[in-house]
Amino acid sequence: MILQPTFAPSRALRYWPGFPLALSLLLFLLLLGWAFFPTLFSSADPLLADPTQTLRAPSAQHWFGTDHLGRDLYARCVHGAALSLQATAIAVLIALLVGTLLGGVAGWFGGVADRVLAVLVEVLMAIPALLLAMAIVTALGFGTLEIAVAVGLSSVAVFARLARGEVLRWRSRTFVEAARVVGVGPWSNLCRHVLPHAAGPLLALAALEFASAVLAVSALSFLGFGAPPPQPEWGLLIAEGRNYMVAAWWYTTLPGLVVAAVVLATQQLGRGLQRLQGEQP
């Protein structure tokens, strides 16, 4: 006999998003607002230096304080959202597309393709994602787009594995075999009939990977491989603040807090989506 846990959430409670999820959604919407309408949230110019206002502590006028050139840090964070979010979105999109393609082909055709993918995934697991991304950045050069591509390619493995599993799960279903019998070619069968069923779990994973992509992009940017200095990329902002840590605690702390909040919020949302996926039959 297997005893069941006595605590089981009631049906009504399960669909209630809960406070953390609601807060995460709010934060994410705010982030989208920062990225798409930066001028709405901050009237200050993120690139305008003001020599009379260097290294001011946070105040009503400068919410996050100012940096060593007198630029408003809140404005720089707001305007940096577009750069960082863009890089993250590109990275997740690349990982999703390449991973789905590789995993789909391996799961669908099997044989040699499957063996090759198994080795490739093993290699991608063996090389830490950050080091792999650094190697790709070395080859591509530095910049926001380059780190986005590097982060995307270095996180292909999880998507490939999930896509392969999903394709294997669906390929032997009756409707897929029926399509094959009717004469649908392997590629259109894979794309039209199998992959749409795999889309849900893959997109939920993409939402979850968004959080780690934000982290990876900001880490590469912090190491100095992202956009060149005048740009307000989040990782770069924090790296610039390193030299003024004794005099200005807000310079590294507040932009870092923004990154951490974004990662936490997207992670919560991704988990929520995955839970929703899991409840669907």
């Binding site: 063996a126 650094m134 100095g224 990782g235 004794v246 990154v259 951490a260 990662v263 936490l264 992670q267």
Partner: protein, 314 residues
């Protein structure tokens, strides 16, 4: 499924070869001429002397077709020769060997902190019954994982070095300078251990033998310590390879934040100056570490878990 040690070794070698090929393909086959970058960095104008270019190519084994370069690099790798750094002109293997002790010390210190911390948090989250504390212990690992490592390092630096003056900010003198970098590196690893062990503890606790023991009246702590933990600790072993990889990757950020010398700093500098030979060396080092650890843990598994020994498969 074939699981003989020889077959496993062949698989490990295959993965290593694939890691080499992948890193070679990324670094050498993509557009972007290393010699041109080198000449541009040394201040030479774009129209360099062809003889000089040819000489540089020969010195860094960048002459011949891509396949010839690949074959040559693979052959040299078999002799543990990782090539020559484009920046310093010294062998990459020597540079790695020189940087390794500092990183090893850092990683070892981080492991010393991370393993007890991770296991402790997982066990406490399971045993503590007070609601707010339990919730905090449950959520702490996920929270820590989502904090940027470099930011955590900077926060620790700010608090303990610049505000409280307890610990030195930079430099590599004695144990005191190791505390903050090791803590920075240890936190995400501890969180990972706590997450994996927590999940494993939860699934083992659901098993019938635990219910049977509980119904016989075995106390909660004794049950956890003597029966559940043994079974739950095994998934931690397969985490070792990933953990070591994370330590090496984390060292890149941590060593940069704390201005320490080591493999991570070497990698960061190599990428910054597009020194492909050194970058490949670090990538191969990480891959070798992972493959060797996984090989070792796979061979150790049957010794630790009687259920995996031959003939007793369920």
């Amino acid at each position: 499924m074939k699981t003989s040690p020889l077959w496993r070794l062949a698989q490990a070698l295959l993965v290593l070869w694939a890691a080499f090929s992948l890193s070679f393909a990324i670094l050498y086959a993509l557009p972007g001429d290393p010699v041109a970058i080198l000449l541009a960095q040394s201040g030479e104008p774009g129209t360099a002397d062809p003889a000089q270019v040819a000489e540089l190519r020969a010195r860094y084994h960048l002459d011949g077709s891509l396949w010839q370069q690949y074959g040559g690099a693979l052959w040299r790798l078999l002799h543990l020769d990782l090539g020559v750094s484009l920046q310093t002109g010294k062998p990459v293997a020597a540079a790695l060997a020189a940087a390794l002790p500092a990183t090893l010390a850092l990683a070892f210190a981080a492991l010393l902190l991370a393993v007890p911390l991770g296991i402790g948090v997982a066990l406490a989250a399971r045993q503590v019954r007070r609601r707010p504390l339990q919730a905090a212990l449950h959520n702490a690992p996920a929270l820590v994982v989502s904090l940027p490592t470099f930011w955590v390092g900077l926060l620790l630096l700010q608090l303990f070095s610049f505000r409280l003056h307890w610990l030195p900010a930079m430099g590599e003198h004695g144990v005191a300078s190791l505390v903050l970098p090791a803590l920075t590196l240890a936190l995400p690893c501890a969180a990972m251990i706590a997450q994996v062990l927590g999940r494993s503890l939860a699934s083992v606790s659901q098993q019938p033998f635990v219910q049977a023991l509980r119904s016989k009246g075995v106390g909660r702590w004794r049950l956890l310590w003597r029966h559940v933990l043994h079974n739950a600790a095994i998934p931690l072993l397969s985490l070792t390879g990933t953990l070591l990889g994370n330590l090496l990757a984390g060292a890149v950020v941590t060593e940069t934040v704390f201005s320490r010398d080591g493999v991570g700093r070497l990698a960061q500098a190599a990428v910054a100056s597009q020194d492909i030979a050194v970058v490949q060396g670090v990538v191969l080092l990480a891959a070798t570490l992972y493959v060797l650890t996984n090989l070792l843990t796979d061979l150790l598994y049957p010794r630790l878990d009687p259920r995996l020994r031959q003939g007793s498969h369920p």
